[in-house]
């Protein structure tokens, strides 16, 4: 339960951060949520990762659908993803997720080190 709440809150805070701040505010978001909802290392990483991964995947998927894949196909070609827009959505989500995961992991270490 904690795990799922952490994922949802990470996604939510990262989204709000993205409205007002540069993209890397997602790291701060994941860090804060992980501080507020203490979890062990692996779980902390995974909830940070999944929170951002899901946020970015859903946003990218939605934008791509509204755009009828016009741009994603071109960018997927430039980034050597064979012009496949779904790979691009996955890569997008993975990149965001990775940062979110490590930020969340850092916070979990910080909490346990303060004990």
């Amino acid at each position: 339960m904690k795990f799922i709440v952490a994922i949802i809150l990470t996604a939510l805070l990262a989204f709000i951060g993205g409205v007002y701040m540069p993209w890397w505010s997602l790291a701060i978001a994941a860090f804060i949520i992980s501080l507020l909802i203490p979890q062990k290392g692996g779980k902390a990483f995974l909830s940070g990762f999944l929170g951002v991964f899901l946020l970015w995947a859903i946003l990218a998927w939605w934008i791509n659908m509204k755009n009828e894949s016009i741009l994603a196909k071109k960018i997927a070609e430039i980034l050597h993803l064979g012009g496949n827009e779904y790979f691009l959505i996955l890569v997008t989500a993975f990149v965001g997720g990775l940062v979110g995961g490590f930020a969340s992991l850092s916070a979990s270490f910080l909490r346990s080190s303060n004990k």
Partner: protein, 813 residues
């Protein structure tokens, strides 16, 4: 004790953020770029995007309404001219900002600043600056800002562009900035001037002076002039043959030393020119008077041929204020409508192709370039130190000396192949102070011939054939610019620069520029051909193209009751007049019995060809390969004597020489003991073509469109994902539909000036410059098929018309 893992994990997180926020080689900063809330995803415009908005912008005097129709063409209605140009700048920037800015970087030698440390970019920037592009724009800016109407128009336009730039966030920035990772800087009036200078460079920057100078080592001046034929036999000039010209107002005198110091001086110049304009840059325009049309009203047609790019160089729009109501193609980066029509007249342009750029050899006192020998003493140069910023590397400094002729473009420090320490200064009309933009300000508002004639007076460069038609039934054309009056042969080669005797002695008086007003035959044609026959009293070298003018003239001669639909067909026409004249000659001299089975098959393709250079023609491919090969067989042996290289004559020149004389002296291959005949050359040329054609056939490229592979590239050519390749069109540079691999009709317009104007147009692109918009390339298919959109000159009262899809209103706080 988790301090250590905390530190490690935090460092990894921070490292990831920093890494993903930075550009690595060709890769954009991935974190920034991929973020759905800010990165490229934000440029993926929803296909049902709502462009409507209500904008509060400080600085506007009144209210502006911008109505967008279903093709996203804006119709701007403003209460006064300043607001009109403000809105034009804003809208240009909203849809084309990256292109506008990048074009001015290209014009001012600043591409390395953003594209990076590559010798090609740095070389381009150096050459651009050494040509004096920024110097030219600065000179123009002084005149622009001295004229109240252009000053206020440009100020307003610039303010409009900047208002848009200031509204941008990273998320809303054009895609290319995100890909290349830089930000737009503020717009300025200088950038408007730079943009127009870039047009001069494209259209009036072509000459072969350096290569021609090399050719003097192998060809006598007399022989050279046979190859650089000034008046082709099949020329149909703009001014109908036989028209009587006034006696010249200026007669330039050849310097006494010309024979020894200029014409017969043998030298070679080892300079590799990097940024030569495409010799195919040109255009068609023609107008037919009411007596030849079905409606009784004149029709004006124009299709400028330029490099076809995404975003297109053109942006379609309507501008309306109490002083003007005009519709047509605009240049993002410059105010006004450039090719279009208003309620009284229509106007269009083709390039004059005249040579207005010459080189002078400078003798510097020493390598400091501080002094040069001129009129018997050492004169001081003006030194301009160019600072070329290079992304990711040190700024490159380049010292350019300015002389009485202009900037010393080539010297020891640029193009190191230069032989014997030669320094060459460039004299170019585009350097002279002028205000071309003012012409369009006037033209957009012109009501009749007198207004048009007054408008074109201010125009100096690049030389254009300025076509005019009016509702009152007049048609006219002027070839307008500031053209040097040359003595015979002046400026074909590099000239001595040690005194003033080889300088231009004056300019052709404007009234003597070639022109046609309401001609008897009822039509006017310009298509980059030489504008006049041999009786024109001036020497006017240029990079002319003969065949399109001839084809159009023949067609119009035979047409009556012309409708706009007829004109659409003519702009799309594929007929190859050159082949019509050349094929019988080739057929006469080919030794058919020498050919193998494949050879015979290809020969049949030419024999049975309908002379249409359509997309699926194989005859056009075989013919072109054969002719190109013949050019090499005939001339390459002589050109090989020129070091480093000479210039292949025009196809037209060879054809006309062979039609008159089947023993033309260059037919013989000087490297063989025997004397070749035309039979030998024509057959050898064909035999050389056979393996090329076999390979083409194997690769399925025998059809003309597959052979040419018509492609519209993004301005950043290497990003092929933004290009459209393999567009199924035919055509060629000397065919009316002048489409080649990446070049061709960049805007087709037809305007019938009947009581209610009927206008049609199309360009190969779309209104949006955003590769993520469905309006990026949505006109291309229609353009490729030769179809047109009906152009809508909207009335203010039509705000509720169903064609209006979106509205942007702008007003002060």
């Amino acid at each position: 004790m988790r301090i250590v893992p905390f530190v490690i994990s935090t460092v990894i997180t921070a490292g990831l953020v920093v890494t993903l926020n930075k550009k690595w080689g060709p890769l954009p900063p991935l974190g920034k770029f991929l973020s759905p809330q800010q990165g490229f995803w934000q440029n993926a415009e929803a296909t049902d995007h709502n462009f409507s908005a209500d904008l509060k912008i400080s600085g506007l005097k009144g209210r502006v309404e911008v109505y967008f129709d279903d093709r996203l063409v804006p119709h701007i209605f403003a209460d006064n001219d300043e607001d009109l140009y403000f809105a034009q700048g804003y809208i240009h920037a909203k849809f084309r900002l990256w292109q506008m800015e990048f074009q001015t970087f290209a014009a001012s030698g600043r591409i390395s600043e953003h594209l990076g440390n590559d010798p090609r970019f740095i070389n381009y920037d150096r050459e651009t600056r050494r040509l004096g592009m920024v110097y030219a724009a600065e000179n123009a800016l002084k005149v622009i800002e001295a004229d109240p109407s252009t000053k206020s128009g440009c100020d307003a336009y610039t303010a409009g562009v900047n208002a848009y730039i200031q509204s941008l966030t990273y998320a809303t920035m054009p895609l290319e900035y995100k890909l290349l990772d830089y930000k737009p800087e503020n717009w300025s009036n200088l950038k408007i001037a730079l943009f127009l200078k870039q047009m001069s460079r494209t259209l009036a920057g072509f000459e072969n002076d350096l290569a021609y100078t090399n050719m003097k080592s192998a060809f006598s001046f007399k022989d050279f002039m046979v190859l650089d034929k000034q008046v082709p036999d099949s020329l149909e000039p703009i001014v109908p043959k036989g028209t009587k010209f006034d006696s010249p107002g200026i007669v330039p005198i050849q310097p006494a030393s010309a024979d020894s110091l200029y014409f017969s001086k043998k030298e070679s110049i080892n300079i590799a020119e990097t940024g030569k304009p495409d010799p195919n840059n040109g255009s068609n325009n023609w107008a037919v008077s009411g007596k030849k049309t079905q409606s009784g009203a004149p029709i004006l047609c124009n299709d400028p041929h330029l490099e076809l790019t995404f975003p297109s160089i053109w942006y379609e729009m309507q501008l309306n204020s109490p002083t003007v109501n005009v519709y047509g193609a605009t240049f993002p980066g410059s105010p006004n409508v450039i090719i279009g029509y208003n309620d009284s007249i229509a106007f269009g342009f083709t390039n004059a192709q005249r040579d207005v750029k010459d080189y002078y050899e400078i003798k510097f006192k020493d390598d400091s370039k501080q002094e040069y020998w001129y009129n018997g003493k050492w004169e001081r140069t003006n030194i301009r130190v160019e600072q070329i910023k290079v992304r990711g590397a040190k700024t490159v400094l380049d010292t350019v000396a300015y002389t009485v002729f202009g900037p010393v473009m080539y010297d020891k420090s640029f193009s190191t192949d230069l032989s014997k320490g030669k320094a060459l200064a460039v004299r170019w009309v585009a350097h002279d102070p002028s205000n071309e933009g003012l012409m369009w300000f006037y033209l957009d508002r012109a009501k009749n011939y007198d207004d048009y004639y007054k408008a074109i007076q201010v125009f100096q460069c690049p030389g254009q054939n300025m076509l005019f038609a009016s509702k009152s039934g007049e048609i006219a054309i002027w070839q307008q610019a500031k053209f040097p009056a040359r003595w015979y042969g002046q400026g074909l080669f590099v000239m001595p620069g040690e005194d003033s005797s080889y300088q231009w002695q004056g300019y052709i008086p404007q009234k003597e520029n070639p022109h046609v007003i309401n001609p008897e035959r009822g039509f006017i044609v310009s298509a980059n051909q030489r504008p006049v026959d041999s009786t024109y009293p001036y020497f006017i070298p240029g990079n002319y193209i003969t065949m399109r003018g001839l084809t159009i003239t023949r067609r119009l001669e035979g047409m009556e009751h012309i409708t706009p639909e007829d004109m659409m067909k003519l702009q799309y026409d594929y007929y190859n007049t050159f082949a019509e004249e050349a094929r019988p000659l080739l057929m006469k001299y080919i030794r058919e019995n020498d050919l193998n089975a494949d050879g015979k098959k290809y020969l049949d393709m030419v024999k049975n060809w309908d002379l249409q250079a359509g997309p699926y023609s194989t005859g056009q491919t075989v013919f072109t390969t054969w002719w190109d090969s013949l050019m090499v067989v005939v001339f390459q042996d002589e050109l090989d004597q020129v070091h480093p290289e000479g210039v292949m004559p025009e196809s037209q020149t060879l054809l006309e020489a062979l039609l008159k004389d089947s023993t033309f002296k260059y037919i013989d291959n000087i490297n063989t003991p025997q004397k070749e005949t035309l039979f030998d050359d024509v057959t050898a040329a064909f035999q050389k073509s056979v393996p090329i054609l076999q390979q083409e056939e194997k690769d399925d490229k025998l059809q003309w469109t597959k052979h040419q592979d018509p492609t519209i590239y993004h301005i950043l050519k290497s990003i092929t994902a933004f290009a459209k390749e393999g567009i199924p069109v035919g055509g060629d540079g000397d065919i009316i539909n002048a489409t080649t691999h990446s070049h061709g009709p960049s805007w087709r317009m037809i305007v019938q000036l009947s009581s209610k104007t009927e206008a049609f147009g199309v360009f190969p692109g779309g209104e949006s410059g955003n590769p993520g918009s469905k309006f990026y390339d949505n006109f291309v298919d229609k353009w490729a098929k030769g179809e047109y959109y009906t152009l809508w000159m909207m009335q203010r009262s039509e705000a509720k018309d169903k064609r209006v899809r979106w509205v942007i209103t702008m007003h002060d706080e």
